[in-house]
């Protein structure tokens, strides 16, 4: 899910920070500059891992700030292709389902990559998996409701170089980093669909234990 990337940048230190520890200032500056930003073809920057090398500070003409070349490593969110991840469903449309991991909300499962056979409930705006039972019986509709946690496999990371133009409305909605996934294999989809296998056995065991516990309680009552 996360990778480590080595980068180099020149950090400008303002004069009123000269009295502070340089590493602390660089740490704050780098986190302020990169955190929560998407670097095209790299991923979403989360936070600074460590500083590898600090160069000599130089001063430019007509600028009171000190400039420091720094080599550092940053934690980047970029799931690799074929990775299995768990995320929550945010919304569903006819085009597909949008998932979120809290800090990143542009994970999209297109409709043709949902478990087959499937359908879209227009009234509830949710997708469902028509899980075929034995022959003759109608398939059960396993709904993929908003807020439920699902498991999916990453298919592709799409990067787009979005031009920063505040006047252009459509470009505001464009996503610079989007993760495309699929839920077609067995084991993928809502976690509750696949956890039930173990739970059925557990329920039988638990009922047995509850009965024995109740039996003990009755004995205690009669003793008193």
């Amino acid at each position: 899910m996360f990778i480590l990337s080595e980068m180099q940048d020149i950090v400008a230190v303002v004069p009123h920070h000269f009295k502070n520890q340089l590493k602390e200032t660089l740490h704050n500056s780098l986190n302020w500059r990169f955190a929560n930003k998407v670097i095209v073809d790299l991923g979403l920057c989360v936070c600074l891992y460590d500083i590898l090398h600090v160069g000599d500070m130089f001063i430019l003409a007509c600028d009171g700030r000190g400039h420091v070349p720094v080599r550092f490593r940053f934690i980047i969110f970029r799931p690799f292709v074929d990775e299995i991840l768990e995320a929550k469903i945010v919304s569903s449309t006819e085009a597909g389902i949008t998932l979120s991991v809290g800090f990143f909300e542009d994970i999209f499962i297109p409709m043709h990559k949902l478990p087959c056979p499937n359908g879209f409930e227009k009234t509830e705006q949710t997708w469902y998996w028509a899980y075929g039972q034995e022959e003759g019986e109608p398939p059960t509709k396993l709904m993929m409701e908003a807020g439920s946690t699902v498991r999916f496999r990453v298919v592709e990371n799409i990067f787009k170089d979005v031009r920063p133009d505040p006047n252009d409305e459509p470009s505001k909605n464009e996503k610079s980093f989007q993760v495309i996934g699929q839920m077609m294999e067995s084991g993928l989809g809502c976690l509750t669909w696949w956890n039930n296998e173990g739970e059925e056995d557990e329920e039988e065991e638990e009922d047995g234990e509850e009965q024995s516990a109740n039996g003990e309680e009755d004995e205690d009552m009669s003793a008193e």
Partner: protein
């Protein structure tokens, strides 16, 4: 800004959570006007997500030992990472993570991987019996400790 090495290494979620907690601690020590709200929000969201995964009760020792235990099974770095991050508890999940699982992993090795899963049953018991949310959180932590405690033993 220049990217020197796009991918130095894959990071396990354990490591990321540790760094995030350290950075958050550093941020809270600063004065309010010096704190970066965007960074704080991002770190909060990321740590909330990671704390809901099995990573919440792991530490680096667990991860290193897991790598050692899985050495004879000959998995790729990505597969070991996913096992640590997701803590698969059924053969279906293992087959999703490990490519060509049935061909690559012999019966004995599969049994070893499955014994990691057997703690899932113990966990399910604790989970269903615990009715309070605090009990469930404790049940989860106990399970994770056992899962990785098995690895450490």
């Amino acid at each position: 800004m220049e990217v020197i090495n796009k991918m130095v290494t894959l990071l396990p979620n354990v490591e990321v959570l540790k760094i995030i907690n350290e950075t958050r601690a550093r941020e809270t020590k600063k004065k309010k006007h010096d704190q970066d709200s965007k960074l704080s929000t991002l770190l909060f969201e990321t740590s909330s997500y990671l704390n809901q995964t099995p990573v919440a009760s792991q530490n680096e020792e667990h991860f290193c030992k897991l790598v050692e235990v899985l050495k004879p099974v000959k998995l790729t770095q990505a597969e070991i990472l996913q096992i640590a991050n997701l803590r698969p508890s059924s053969s279906i999940e293992l087959q999703l993570i490990i490519e060509d699982c049935e061909e690559r992993i012999k019966t004995e090795e599969q049994l070893e991987l499955k014994s990691l899963q057997c703690y899932h049953r113990w966990r399910q018991n604790l989970w269903t019996r615990a009715k309070q949310p605090t009990d469930r959180k404790r049940a989860n932590t106990e399970y994770d400790r056992a899962y990785f405690g098995f690895v450490l033993a």
